[in-house]
Symmetry: C2
Subunit: 421 residues, 2 copies
C-alpha cells in the first residue's frame, strides 16, 4: 500500500494520560486509538496485525477440531441466574444495560452460560460428544483500573473455546492437546521464549488450571519460575505450596508477567446448572464434562509490543507484521523515484506485501517512521546506492544491513521467500 | 465436514415466540440461535454464511479504496455531546451503561462521532484527502419491538464505511461509485433482481439519500416502485412528492420491502462539530465533506432467507452457501458407505467444500435435512443408483436431478467448477 494514502500518520507523542509502553508505541505508530481509559480502537495497521493473530489462532482451533460460532454480546439475565452469576456481588466486572421495558441485560464478559444453554439443544447422546466450539467475540469487563494499555482493557476481542466431553478422561486428553496448541500460538507470534505454562488454582474439578504467562516488566501478575522445569506458578499457588508443583524445587524466581492465555477444567459446574446431560452407551444419563480455553488477541499484541520493541519503535515478528517490507523512496532524482515505483510494482505483482513510503518527505522522517512502525525489513531506494547499482535492505530486529545488486533484488527476496509473504 | 460431528442438529420446530420466516428457517436448520427477542447468535453453519457475506463486502470496499478499522463499541459520552447525540431525546435507540465510577457510556449504534474525532488527528491537508474508512463491527440499537427475526435486531454486525472528501464534487463521484459497488454486492448474494435503489430523505446537505430496498413480504418498510426507471421512493419521499423523482411517473406500485443498505451524504455536519478541517492548495482552511455507507450482513442473510427459501427450507445462492455440496450416504450395503466415504475424500482433496451426511439415519431424515439446510447441490450415493454405476446430483433451486456415471462424477463437477468452490 502507498503510505501517502494510508489513513494514519505517525505521532511524536502519545496521549498524556497513557502510561503503558505498548499503548504509547502502538498509538504513536498509528496502530490503535485511545477512545478512553481501557478502551481502544484498531486503526488499519493495527487491524492488519489483529487479523493475522486471529487467523493464526483460528487455524490452531480448527486443527483441534473446533467449530466456530459468534455469540451475542447482549446477555439475558435469566440465563445467568441459573449459575448465580448475574449478581454483581458474584461477578464484579459486569457492564449492565437495559431494554426499553427496563429489563436488565448484561454485556458478555465470558460465554459459558449462553453456550451451555445452546449445547443443551445439540447434545443428547454419547454420539454427540466430544464437541469443541469456539469464537472470536468482544468481551466487556468493567475494570476498576485500566492503565496497562491494551494488556487490560474494558472491551476486547477474545478467542474462547469450550470443550464438551463425555468424562474427565476424554476431557484430559483434549486439555493436553489444547496446551500444545497454545504453546505453538505463542511461539508463532514471537513470544514463545518468554512465555511459561503457569500453574494456577483449579476450582472444584481439578487441582490446577493453567495460565500462559509472558515475562514482561509491564505485567500486572507476579509469577515464580522454576529454572529446572521451565514452568511457573502464580501467586495463589505459590502462597499455598511454596514449591514447584512439577519437581518440588524450592528456589523459584519472581518475575512480573502478563497472562496471555488460560485453560481451565470446568467439570460439570455448568452442565449441572443447565441440565446438560447425555445418554451413554448403556442409556444412562450423565452430565457433560466441560473445559474452557481463552486467548485475547489484543492482549497478545500488547505483549508483543512490550517485548518486541526498542527505543526507536516496534519490531514485528514476521508472522504478524502488517506488511512484510517497508519500501522507502528517498528524496533524489526523478530516476530514483521511478526505480522505487517500479520496485513497488514488481514486489506487489510477486504478492509480497509492501508498505511503500512514497511521500514527499525528508529521509530522516522516513527512517524514523520505518523504525517506529517496525516492519521486519526496510528496503531503501536512494540515489547514492543506485549510483552503484545497489538497493539496501535492513533487518529491523537484528539491524543487519545488506546492499543487494539491483538486478538481483527480486531473486534475493525469493530466496528468502519463506519469511516474506 | 462430517455431519455426524457438526455441533448443531436440525429442529422440527422453531421457538414458539418466533414469528419471522427468516428466523424460523435459520433456527430450525441450525444456522442461528435466538438468545432473546431481537438478539441472535450465529452457529457454525450461520457463521460460514456470515463470513462469506463479510468477505464479499470486504472485497468491494477494498476495491473502492477503503481502509479497514475496528472501532470500539463502548462510547465516551463527551464525544457524542459534541453533536448533541448522546441525549436520549435526540437518539431514542441508545443502550447505555456505566463505569464503576458511575460515568455513563453508550454502546455504539453508529460510528460517525468517534471516527470523525480520529480523523481529526490524521487529516490536515488536501494531500490527506480523500480517505475511505470502513469496518465490520457490532451495532447496538435498543429497538422497542423486534419481531422480524434477523431483519431487525438489537445487536447486529454492520459494515459501515465513511468517506472524507475535499468538497461536494469529490464526494459525489465517490457516492456514485459506492452505489455501483452496493448493486454488485446485492447481485452477488442473490437478491439483485429484488433490490431497488430507493430515494429517501437527504438531510441538510443533499436533496436525497439512497436506500437499497429488497422486496419481501416480511419487510417493515413500504416503498413505491417506478416500473419505468426501476427505482423506488420510500414513504417519506412519496408523501412529499407522489411521483418518481427520476422520471416524474405518477403510477407507482406499493411494495413491502427490507432496507438492506443505505448511502448518505453527511456533508460537513460532523466535520463542523469536531473542527475536522483541511488546508487546501492555497492554504485556506475548509471543512471535510463526509458521507456514510451502511450494509448489515446479518440483515442481508435474513433477506436472502426470506426470498431464497421454499416450503422445505433454505435455498442458498452459490456465493454465500456454507458448503457447495451436501453429500448424502443413504442407508445400504457396506459397499455403498465405502463409496460415499471415498467420494467425500476425493471431493475434499479437490478442495470442494462438502457437508457429508455420514450419520446413521433414515433416507427420509437425510433428504429433509438437506432440503432444510439448503446447500445448492445435493449428491446422493445410494445402493440402487450404484447398481447402475450412477451417482445422483440435484440442484436445490431448480429441483433438476441428474444421474452421473460414477466414473465421470469428478470430471462432471470440474466442468461446473466455477459454481462449486
Amino acid at each position: 500500500m502507498l503510505q501517502s494514502t494510508l489513513f494514519t500518520k505517525t505521532r511524536r507523542e502519545a496521549p498524556k494520560d497513557e502510561e503503558a509502553r505498548n499503548a504509547k508505541l502502538l498509538i504513536r505508530a498509528g496502530f490503535i486509538y485511545k477512545e478512553m481509559a481501557g478502551v481502544y480502537s484498531f486503526l488499519p495497521l493495527g487491524l492488519l496485525v489483529l487479523n493475522k493473530v486471529v487467523e493464526l489462532i483460528r487455524k490452531e482451533m480448527n486443527a483441534l477440531g473446533g467449530q466456530e460460532v459468534f455469540l451475542s454480546a447482549l446477555q439475558d439475565r435469566s440465563v445467568w441466574e441459573k449459575t448465580g452469576r448475574f449478581d454483581d456481588r458474584a461477578v464484579d466486572i459486569w457492564f449492565k444495560t437495559a431494554l426499553k421495558n427496563k429489563s436488565e441485560l448484561g454485556l458478555s464478559f465470558t460465554h459459558e452460560e449462553p453456550l451451555t444453554r445452546i449445547a443443551k439443544d445439540q447434545i443428547n447422546s454419547f454420539r454427540d460428544l466430544p464437541r469443541y466450539v469456539y469464537q472470536f467475540q468482544t468481551k466487556f469487563r468493567n475494570e476498576k483500573r485500566a492503565k496497562s494499555g491494551i494488556l487490560r482493557t474494558r472491551e476486547f476481542l477474545m478467542k474462547d473455546l469450550y470443550s464438551f466431553s463425555k468424562d474427565e478422561k476424554e476431557h484430559a486428553e483434549f486439555y493436553e492437546k489444547a496446551k500444545e496448541s497454545y504453546k505453538r500460538i505463542f511461539e508463532k507470534v514471537g513470544i514463545g521464549e518468554f512465555t511459561y505454562l503457569t500453574y494456577a488454582s483449579g476450582g472444584s474439578f481439578s487441582k490446577y488450571s493453567h495460565e500462559f504467562q509472558t515475562i514482561a516488566s509491564a505485567g500486572e501478575d507476579l509469577i515464580r519460575l522454576c529454572g529446572k522445569c521451565k514452568v511457573a506458578v502464580n501467586d495463589e499457588i505459590f502462597a499455598e505450596q511454596k514449591v514447584c508443583p512439577s519437581c518440588g524445587e524450592k528456589n523459584l524466581k519472581e518475575e512480573k508477567a502478563v497472562e496471555v492465555g488460560n485453560i481451565f477444567t470446568l467439570g460439570t459446574r455448568f452442565s449441572d446448572s443447565f441440565g446438560l446431560n447425555y445418554a451413554d452407551e448403556k442409556g444412562v444419563s450423565r452430565p457433560v464434562f466441560m473445559g474452557s480455553y481463552g486467548i485475547g488477541p489484543g492482549r497478545l499484541i500488547g505483549a508483543v509490543a512490550e517485548i518486541r520493541s526498542d527505543a526507536s519503535g516496534l519490531v514485528w515478528p514476521d508472522a504478524i507484521a502488517p506488511f512484510a517490507l517497508h519500501l522507502l523512496a528517498l528524496p533524489g532524482s526523478e530516476q530514483t523515484r521511478l526505480k522505487a515505483d517500479k520496485l513497488y510494482g514488481d514486489l506487489t505483482s510477486e504478492s509480497v506485501s509492501v508498505l511503500y513510503d512514497d511521500r514527499d518527505a525528508r529521509a530522516g522522517e522516513k527512517f524514523a517512521d520505518a523504525d517506529l512502525i517496525g516492519l521486519p525489513r526496510r528496503v531503501v531506494v536512494s540515489e547514492k546506492a543506485l549510483a552503484e547499482g545497489k538497493i539496501e535492505i535492513k533487518n529491523r530486529r537484528t539491524g543487519k544491513v545488506e546492499m543487494i545488486d539491483e538486478s538481483q533484488f527480486l531473486k534475493y527476496l525469493k530466496s528468502n521467500a519463506s519469511q516474506i509473504s
